[in-house]
């Protein structure tokens, strides 16, 4: 199967994933016995006028599929409904928070790429103290869940050393970065371990491959061999694991935002789940799942770009 067909097929799978996900998210309204109305109001008592508004907005008198269709087309136009708790457009509420979440995930992704891949490459190419210490450190941090890491970081760096503020968002760009640093580290820490290990293993393996011997036997300088053969080939599994890890950050980010009391989409999602504010939960879930699926698809595309042997429906996972 040519690369183009592979990419088209992958894109179609992306759309199917999103469709199924949106269906599940929407269908959650109906899962509990009782009417979707009860789910939407989250058990609150509302005046009849409000109920009429809900009826009209969500087309509650029409069939399931039609309601799904209205909801989906609204969502695609940027209209995600109204929060029952805050009486505001979900989209508006989310808009203010997106910056924090995107910044946090990007910051953590940067740490993972620079530290994780960097350490992995160094450990692979220089056996010795650096290698062993990297292995030990990654073994420990691999099992460190983000919320535990968060507590450790706050204890050491905020309370004891006063290097960073413990909680909350910042007020300007510089202050933002300061406030987001510990959360980003907490978010990145357990993923860092696996990226570093996979990088180290991949580079080690490539360095031992026979085609590297061929290049050496032809007198090609080592730095060229490193760049064009070892790292270039190792980039395939490294990109895959980094991409998958960054995608998973999207889910863990809710935990870190809660731990650090940040105003992000994740923290808002959790609060809405507690409040049974379903419109918000649906809206944020839809956005996060879309981001997750899109990142995974980018990983698959990169994999196809980097490896010319890719064929027949293989995905990077």
């Amino acid at each position: 199967m040519s690369r183009r067909r592979f990419l088209i097929r992958r894109f179609i799978m992306l759309l199917c994933s999103l469709l199924v996900a949106s269906f599940v998210i929407f269908g959650s309204l109906y899962v509990e016995a009782g009417s979707p109305l009860a789910a939407l109001t989250g058990g609150r008592a509302l005046p009849p006028s409000s109920i009429a508004v809900l009826d009209a907005r969500y087309h509650l008198n029409e069939s399931f599929i039609q309601q799904y269709w209205y909801w989906l087309s609204n969502a695609l136009h940027g209209n995600l409904g109204i929060s029952i708790e805050w009486r505001e457009n979900v989209t508006t509420l989310m808009g203010n928070l997106t910056g924090t979440t995107v910044g946090l995930v990007a910051y953590a992704a940067l740490i993972i790429v620079v530290l994780g891949i960097g350490l992995g490459i160094l450990a692979a190419l220089r056996p010795g103290l650096l290698d062993t210490s990297t292995l030990v450190v990654t073994a420990i941090t691999a099992a460190l869940p983000s919320f535990v890491a968060a507590m450790v970081l706050v204890t050491v760096f905020a309370v004891e050393l006063h290097w960073f503020p413990a909680l909350g968002n910042g007020t300007g760009l510089g202050s933002d970065i300061q406030h987001l640093t510990m959360p980003a580290i907490a978010l990145a820490v357990s993923s860092l371990a696996i990226v570093a290990r996979v990088t180290r293993a991949a580079v080690r393996e490539e360095a031992g491959k026979e085609h590297v011997q061929t290049a050496i036997s032809r007198g090609i300088p080592m730095r060229l061999i490193l760049r064009r053969h070892i790292l270039r080939n190792a980039a395939i599994p490294i990109t895959t694991i980094t991409g998958i890890t960054i995608a998973s950050l999207i889910a863990i980010d809710a935990v870190v935002e809660t731990a650090f009391s940040l105003n992000g989409l994740g923290a808002f999602l959790v609060k809405a789940a507690e409040d049974k504010d379903l419109a918000v939960v649906q809206g944020i879930s839809l956005v996060l799942v879309t981001a997750f699926v899109v990142v995974n698809m980018i990983v698959d595309i990169l994999y196809a770009v980097l490896d010319p042997r890719v064929s027949l429906g293989t995905t990077a996972q």
């Binding site: 799978m13 199917c16 994933s17 999103l18 199924v20 996900a21 599940v24 998210i25 959650s28 309204l29 899962v31 509990e32 789910a39 420990i140 691999a142 099992a143 460190l144 869940p145 983000s146 919320f147 535990v148 507590m151 450790v152 706050v154 204890t155 905020a158 309370v159 413990a166 909680l167 995608a247 998973s248 999207i250 889910a251 863990i252 809710a254 935990v255 809660t258 731990a259 999602l269 959790v270 809405a272 789940a273 507690e274 049974k276 379903l278 939960v281 879930s285 996060l288 799942v289 997750f292 699926v293 995974n296 995905t315 996972q317």
Partner: protein
């Protein structure tokens, strides 16, 4: 059966069980020192999970806010938490809810995963392609998000979260086990059994699945670690086990104020419990996995 035959039958079964036990210990010894230590930690954790509430020396739920965050003293090895309760007792009692959830997740997702893997491997062709494609599509839902959605709909609690998490793990499990199932399917003994007239389901249940057992057990062990982390996270968020019930994830969340005020012990102690048990399961699982795939 006559009395003599019955006694002989029972003693054979007893000897058989001992043989299995001995083989398991031999297997364990082969996993190296790290494997043995991890297995010990797992065993201790399981023991505490079962007997924790009885082992706890002090009351785990009676608050006494006057004594909040008092450091270790007297019989309180780890001090008191944010509501004046003994931290050690709550940790011991909390082991139960911290580990029973992951157990359920592992059982459900493995059950479904094995069933799907074996079915796709057995039927191959269209069934395989469609189920695999379906599972690929399901990869869309990260576990924690699905659990949050479930708790928003069904209300917070361990049950909703565990089931949601199980469902999100199934695509991964099915994919990993599908390879092994396909390999078993291709073995000559399966063809031999088919020729003899054995039915598909019976071959799968009585031969293919038992032969996949080492891999299934290894996968279960590794997944237990992940499930523990995910469920602790959900309880930390307040959507899993609810306070004031003892649970490690809950304890980390409710004692966060202590960290900010300079009393990190209750919070970090609970965190340490989670981390230690997860590391043990990870190491043990990895060793078992290496052994299962080495053949």
């Amino acid at each position: 059966m006559t009395a003599i035959a019955l006694r002989r039958h029972r003693s054979t079964k007893l000897r058989h069980s001992f043989a299995v036990l001995r083989r398991s210990f031999a297997l364990l010894r082969q996993t190296g020192p790290a494997g043995i230590v991890s297995a010990a930690v797992v065993a201790v954790a399981t023991f505490v999970a079962i007997f924790g509430p009885w082992l706890a020396p002090y009351n785990t739920e009676l608050p006494d806010t006057q004594l909040a965050f008092v450091g270790p003293f007297g019989g309180h090895l780890l001090g008191l938490d944010f509501e004046g309760r003994d931290v050690l007792s709550r940790l011991l009692a909390g082991a139960q809810s911290s580990m029973v959830g992951p157990l359920a997740v592992v059982v459900i997702s493995l059950g479904l995963g094995v069933a799907l893997a074996v079915t796709t491997a057995w039927r191959r062709g269209f069934t395989d392609a469609s189920i695999s494609a379906g599972l690929d599509i399901l990869f869309a839902f990260p576990g924690i998000l699905l659990a949050v959605l479930a708790t928003a709909v069904f209300g917070p609690g361990l049950v909703a979260a565990s089931i949601a998490l199980s469902i999100s793990y199934v695509p991964y499990v099915a994919r990993v086990l599908r390879g092994a199932a396909l390999k078993e399917r291709g073995q000559p003994y399966v063809a031999a059994l088919e020729v003899q007239g054995a039915s598909g389901p019976s071959i799968c249940l009585r031969h293919i699945v038992p032969n996949m057992m080492p891999l299934i057990v290894a996968q279960a062990t590794i997944m237990f670690g992940w499930a523990m982390v995910d469920l602790a996270a959900i309880s930390f968020l307040g959507l899993g086990v609810q306070a004031p019930a003892p649970n490690w994830g809950v304890m980390i969340s409710e004692n966060e104020v202590g960290v900010l005020q300079g009393y990190p012990l209750p919070c970090l102690a609970a965190g340490a419990c989670v981390v230690l048990v997860v590391i043990a399961f990870n190491i043990l699982g990895e060793r078992l996995f290496e052994r299962a795939t080495a053949r």
